[in-house]
């Protein structure tokens, strides 16, 4: 049948647009799924709960309680950041673990992976699209905490000029810019965890197993990070540089730790994406 030949795109310039079709499909799949939306809603609820508690109890005294929470009563801007700190140990790793762990294993479990492969979607292309879906979800997860925090903070607490952690004052507009930078930095951190989860997801057809393994990795990393005897490996732990984001709300921004944080995250992304690629391109899909 030559009809099949005729409908091949004639020009190579159309390829990028066609490539984006699968990406669009993946983003819709990830971002429209009720479970994933529910998790985003739960993350959005974290700053709301935190804000209400601080409002009712007037919050911890200066220098007391979890980082940044003492700032919230003075300026609502800090609510999103405090909520981020609150969500870092467990909530965010869990949410990322679910989405990343499900990415390949979920499709393998449903059997839809073999459908995509016989289309053929291409194994490498599929992996890249899956990774992109996880990265976008990671950004969404971080952004929704910050956005919900900013809105709730503005409603419940005084806002306006922001006193930075260095004691200087910056305008609310600049503070929002800092919040955007923090969202970007944390999205990279979460994407590194997502890359680990994506690799686990290529190992199994049981999504729950890959999810649990990802969350376990994040928790194990945090435990090791708290053990002084293994201080030597602290800088290369995936969670070690997460709280570094607070350096971005100093004045001027303290970037000495941001660089290593990004470098370590990039390293994790490179290593685990390569491992996932090696695995998925040789995997027998049953």
């Amino acid at each position: 049948m030559s009809t099949a030949e005729l409908i091949r795109p004639a020009s190579a310039s159309r390829i990028p647009r066609l490539r984006a079709r699968l990406l669009g499909s993946e983003l819709r799949l990830v971002l429209r799924r009720r479970r994933n939306l529910g998790m985003l809603a739960a993350l959005a609820a974290v700053p709301i709960l935190l804000g209400v508690i601080v409002r009712i109890t007037s919050g911890p005294d200066a220098g007391q309680g979890p980082p940044l929470l003492d700032q919230v009563a003075h300026n609502g801007f800090f609510l999103g950041l405090a909520a981020l700190v609150f969500a870092l140990p467990l909530f965010l790793p869990m949410v990322l673990g679910v989405v990343a762990g499900d990415s390949v294993a979920g499709e393998a479990n449903l059997g839809t992976l073999r459908n995509l492969l016989v289309v053929p979607a291409g194994r490498t292309r599929l992996l890249l699209v899956k990774a992109a879906g996880i990265a976008v979800y990671a950004l969404a997860a971080v952004a929704i905490i910050l956005a919900s925090g900013l809105i709730t903070g503005a409603v419940l607490f005084p806002s306006g000029e922001v006193v930075t952690l260095s004691g200087t004052v910056i305008g609310y507009g600049e503070a929002l810019g800092r919040a955007l930078l923090i969202a970007g930095y944390m999205a990279v951190m979460m994407s590194a965890l997502g890359a680990i989860g994506l690799f686990f997801s290529t190992l199994t057809e049981v999504p729950m197993g890959a999810m649990a393994a990802t969350v376990t990795a994040a928790i194990a990393s945090q435990i090791l990070d708290a053990v002084p005897q293994v201080e030597a490996i602290h800088p290369v732990l995936p969670t070690h540089w997460w709280e570094t984001f607070v350096d971005l709300i100093r004045d001027p921004m303290y970037l000495a730790d941001v660089g290593p944080g990004l470098a370590v995250a990039a390293g994790y992304i490179a290593v685990f994406m390569t491992a996932a690629w090696a695995r998925i391109t040789t995997k027998d899909v049953t």
Binding site: R19, V118, V119, V285
Partner: protein, 335 residues
């Protein structure tokens, strides 16, 4: 029990009359494998498989559950890597040429599998989006056409979760028919369907084949595909134990004569002396394998010897019996 029958000259009225080309002609072969094997641990799932599926044929790939059919199909489509051996699909090696050749191949592998919380249409749109060789502009048209073709037009917006088993199988077929194909590979498309659903699937297969597309359809139930197949291959314990036209398969088993008589012993003696094999005496009748004997001469001899004959039957072998004979087990038995 290797069968040498490869005759393609005679196709009976029960088989669709497709242009059949000799298995040796490389250009006319849609699927060919050479020494294809797959080992899982210490179990040899597929052993030294030499498959040749003529272009334009409807090839029934038969065998009991667990005989290696699905593993073979997975290797054909590049989903699993063979332990040894080679696969060619439409003249291109697999998996090396998969990117070029698979867009021309529609496939339903090991039952339908879709996202339960997406509608039938959205599931197909996702598969369409994965296909780099088509434009996104016509995606809705292609998906709508495929859904109509399998009779799912009215259920397109329904979630897959709410589909009946028959609808799920049809959605799987629609995925295989998203665009014009040169080859369609269907793994157990009638599995779990009621007789009406099975009939509908057969109609769809006929429809696909009528357009000149080669159809490779696996089943553990011969009766479900017998009516649409021009060729069959029979798997047993990972080996291809028969391959040829449906008609040659019939000849792979023995034709028997049954003589109903009040003197079975005498009849058996006559049959035995006239070229039939192993006459077996049962109550009131004798059954013997015909071999090279001519039924007309047997009747004449029986009458000449004064054997009282009440009925004389030449029974062509039932294909289902042929299978049991070939595979040594019933078709629903796990291998």
């Amino acid at each position: 029990m290797n069968s040498p029958h490869q005759s393609t000259a005679v196709i009976t009225g029960t088989s669709p009359t497709h242009s059949v080309q000799s298995a040796g002609d490389h250009a006319g072969v849609a699927i060919s494998t050479a020494g294809l094997s797959k080992r899982f641990g210490d179990q040899l799932a597929v052993a030294d498989l030499d498959l040749s599926v003529p272009t334009g044929s409807v090839y029934g790939f038969l065998g009991p559950n667990g005989s290696g059919k699905t593993t073979t199909i997975r290797m054909l489509l590049g989903l699993v890597k063979p332990t040894s051996g080679a696969v060619e699909l439409l003249g291109r090696p697999i998996p090396a040429g998969a990117g070029d050749v698979l867009p021309h191949v529609g496939a339903l592998v090991e039952g339908p599998a879709f996202h339960p919380y997406l509608s039938g249409r959205d599931n197909l749109l996702r598969l369409d989006a994965a296909d780099r060789s088509v434009s996104g502009k016509d995606a809705r048209g292609r998906v709508g056409e495929a859904l109509e073709r399998v009779g799912l037009g009215a259920a397109a917006a329904k979630r897959y979760r709410a589909y009946s088993l028959g609808m799920r199988q049809r959605l799987g077929l629609a995925a295989a028919l998203l665009r014009p194909r040169e080859l369609v590979v269907l793994d157990e498309p009638t599995n779990g369907l009621d007789p009406q659903g099975t009939r509908e699937v057969r109609a769809i297969i006929r429809d696909i084949a009528a357009g000149g597309t080669t159809v490779f359809v696996s089943s553990h139930l011969l009766s479900e595909v017998e009516q649409v197949c021009s060729h069959v291959g029979v798997m047993s314990h990972g080996r291809l134990i028969f391959s040829g036209t449906l008609n040659s398969l019939r000849h792979a088993a023995d034709t028997v004569v049954r003589v109903e008589t009040s003197s079975p012993a005498a009849a058996a003696a006559v049959l035995h002396c006239n070229g039939t094999a192993e006459p077996q005496i049962r109550s009131g009748e004798v059954v013997a394998t015909l071999q090279d004997a001519h039924p007309e001469e047997l009747v004449a001899m029986l009458v000449e010897r004064g054997v009282p004959v009440r009925q004389f039957v030449v029974a062509l072998p039932d294909l289902e019996d042929v299978f049991v004979q070939l595979t040594g087990e019933g078709f629903d038995v796990d291998g």
